[in-house]
Symmetry: C2
Subunit: 431 residues, 2 copies
């Protein structure tokens, strides 16, 4: 019997919205040692750890330009066409995030502005595993290119034969990224953070990964390398009302569940009957899916919640702050105004989460573990810093000078005051 | 004899741009215990730690509304006028940072946009000490209000008499902030991060502080509370060429040095003669300053560097990535294009750093310790998260559906593919 929670009171929400704890601390000692070794020995340490952890440890850790060209010829033309179409959408949406320089004259003679300047060197981690996640390379590589980062390094574990998948290489070639380091795991993160004989250390590291990768990102962040975020298990919350299509809702839940047994799935609805219809559809669709076992395991932890009114439902969803939120309703537009905490929101019955995962244009690197309450996902902003500038004329400083003097004096900072006063005195003399 | 480095080669830059190491690790155990206690005992633990560390521990930890009103009557009218003028400029510049919602139709029927949504509950830490840093409350409170954060809590240590300075209360009143928690140090950060009986825990903590405060921010960040940044000692780099005014450059160096003995001061110039002129001015202006001792101590660690050409000079300054960069030159506009790493840049002879500290409009909460290479200072962005939305119509999913299917298939994620396929099949049936 499915456990559907009816109208839980706010006091019960905390329990319904908790995530499983991350076991990263146990790994810390091990990962710390890997980082130390790589920082001391460089590429050779990377090779040794790759071999020790059962991965491939190629003699040459770098992909050769010829490999990228050759790989492109082996990728299915239909897939290439799809990737190009997705790239165009992702590029269009991320270009729209560029902030124009706006010069604001706060008082006459005092002009302030901020300018987006690319982060010079970035590292993109692309996990290996059963299937090459080339979509993640699109999601990280496209904004890095738009931002204009001077050095973009990709680190990704090679297959058993020491090579990188053709599709990954094709995408790298498409984006004009030619620095591909054949390593995965904590040692790859360490190489990008500390630098090696052949890899100039980067300023910021992006990308998802297993618990070793995440732990390494956490540790290098505490030292000096910036990171995009600490990615926890993926999450999907769906709000489904009477106007949803239960078969679609079921399909979206299943797609989320196939990410892994630790994926989080929450279904919130205005009625128990809708949830039962969705569950029937889940049972109907599940047998046809190759990742059935993973999905079943994941669904054991799903949460099914009914709220009488949609305001309470969205208050609950905001308390959870999901990475992905699907609003399966013909009223999705209106309901979406109630969203305050979510990574990416999908409106209506025709917007599956997988659209955002691949091709609609939004980024799929999103905040998990409740961090959607404070931060958005990866965007063009993640690859730049916004630097403030100010230009002040003689008449400008005459205008705001007295204000600064008064305030510096009140804070007991006389030298701050003097820096203004000496200018005002000179201005008087020379004018 | 002053140690002026002439034309150092890039190999020597690392040594010239290192910061002193932060000794935060020694404190960690102590601060960890404080956080644990506050998370268990709440307000009473805050009171006890405040008393134990020699601070005031008032019975009522909250400022009463009447106190705010009464304080305003005691602040010097001229100071109030200056604060209002500064507020107007800061507000104007930070309002200009609001990102309008841009709906991008990436393909017909697929519309993506992002929306800035305020972080619900924020905590602003305002240090106590010899002088009340009301300017920091302006710099954090103004963007928090513009963003529309639902709960803004200020934590600041009370004076010996258990009260908060009148100017701080005046600024809080001006900004409509009425939740002021009378506590400082690590215990105040812990209270905001963990919540107490009377303080609803916040999502993000802002503000500078001593090493206890910084250590506490670092520790709560590793748990679940976001922070603005880890503030190290303040930094100023000045580029001065033949068109600078040495007396102004000296005044700016002195104003930076009065922040504390650990402040960082770097002067880069196109000629040794200019540096000598500036140093003469420093010697002339120093005796008149009340914080002479602190300044002298700070200046012991100043760095003076000459580069023949301005391109190399700016490459060096970018390698340092200063919090503040003053370009003391009549060619500041052109030279500023060479800046890639800096927190806030001041152009020309009439723009002292103290303008940005107080009143020009830019924020004075800026990245230190080299983090200007990857991040900007506090801005309106710091108080919102940018959430992506997408709306897809039936014809939209028909258009991008095949692209998604192809890519999901290639990544081995069949359920992702099915979520699209089931919609396409239904669309066909119903259309």
């Amino acid at each position: 019997m499915e456990n559907i929670r009816l109208h839980p009171s706010p006091g019960e929400w905390a329990a319904l919205t908790t995530r499983p704890g991350l076991a990263a601390e146990k790994l810390e000692k091990k990962v710390r040692a890997i980082i130390r070794e790589v920082s001391l020995q460089g590429d050779e340490a990377v090779r040794q750890f790759s071999a020790r952890f059962g991965g491939s440890a190629p003699g040459d850790l770098w992909v050769q330009p010829g490999e990228i060209r050759a790989a492109a010829t082996r990728v299915d033309p239909l897939l290439k066409r799809s990737i190009r179409a997705a790239r165009k959408n992702i590029e269009r949406f991320h270009r729209s995030q560029a902030e124009p320089v706006r010069r604001i004259e706060t008082v006459p003679g005092v002009v302030c502005w901020r300018k987006s300047i690319p982060i010079e060197r970035v590292g993109l981690y692309i996990p290996g595993g059963t299937a090459p996640l080339f979509s993640t390379l699109l999601m990280l590589g496209i904004p890095a290119r738009i931002a204009g980062c001077a050095q973009i390094v990709v680190a990704t574990p090679p297959r058993e034969d020491g090579r990188i998948s053709d599709v990954i290489l094709f995408v790298a070639g498409l984006l004009g990224i030619d620095k591909i380091y054949k390593a995965g795991g904590a040692q790859a993160i360490a190489a990008m953070a500390c630098g090696t004989q052949t890899l100039h250390k980067v300023h910021k590291i992006f990308g998802p990964g297993n618990q070793y990768v995440t732990c390494a990102k956490k540790l290098v962040q505490a030292q000096s390398t910036a990171i995009d975020m600490l990615a926890g298990p993926s999450e999907l919350a769906i709000y489904a009302d009477a106007t949803c299509v239960p078969a679609y809702v079921a399909a979206d839940l299943l797609s989320q569940a196939e990410h892994g047994a630790d994926s989080q799935v929450i279904l919130v609805s205005s009625s128990e009957a809708i949830i039962r219809n969705v569950l029937k559809e889940v049972a109907r669709q599940l047998p046809g899916l190759p990742r059935k076992r993973i999905i079943e395991k994941c669904l054991l932890n799903k949460r099914l919640v009914v709220f009488r009114d949609h305001r309470t439902a969205f208050a609950f969803l905001n308390a959870y702050a999901p990475e992905h939120l699907v609003i399966a309703s013909q009223r999705a537009g209106v309901l979406s105004r109630l969203v305050t905490n979510a990574g990416s929101v999908f409106l209506g019955n025709h917007a599956p989460e997988s659209a955002g995962d691949y091709a609609s244009g939004t980024n799929h690197s999103l905040p998990t573990n409740g961090t959607a309450a404070v931060t958005g996902g990866v965007s063009l902003d993640s690859f730049v810093k916004k630097v403030t500038f100010q230009k002040i004329t003689g008449s400008g400083i005459r205008r705001i000078g007295p204000v600064i003097e008064e305030m510096a004096e009140a804070e007991g900072l006389q030298a701050h005051r003097s820096a203004v006063r000496i200018r005002l005195q000179n201005e008087k003399r020379t004018s």
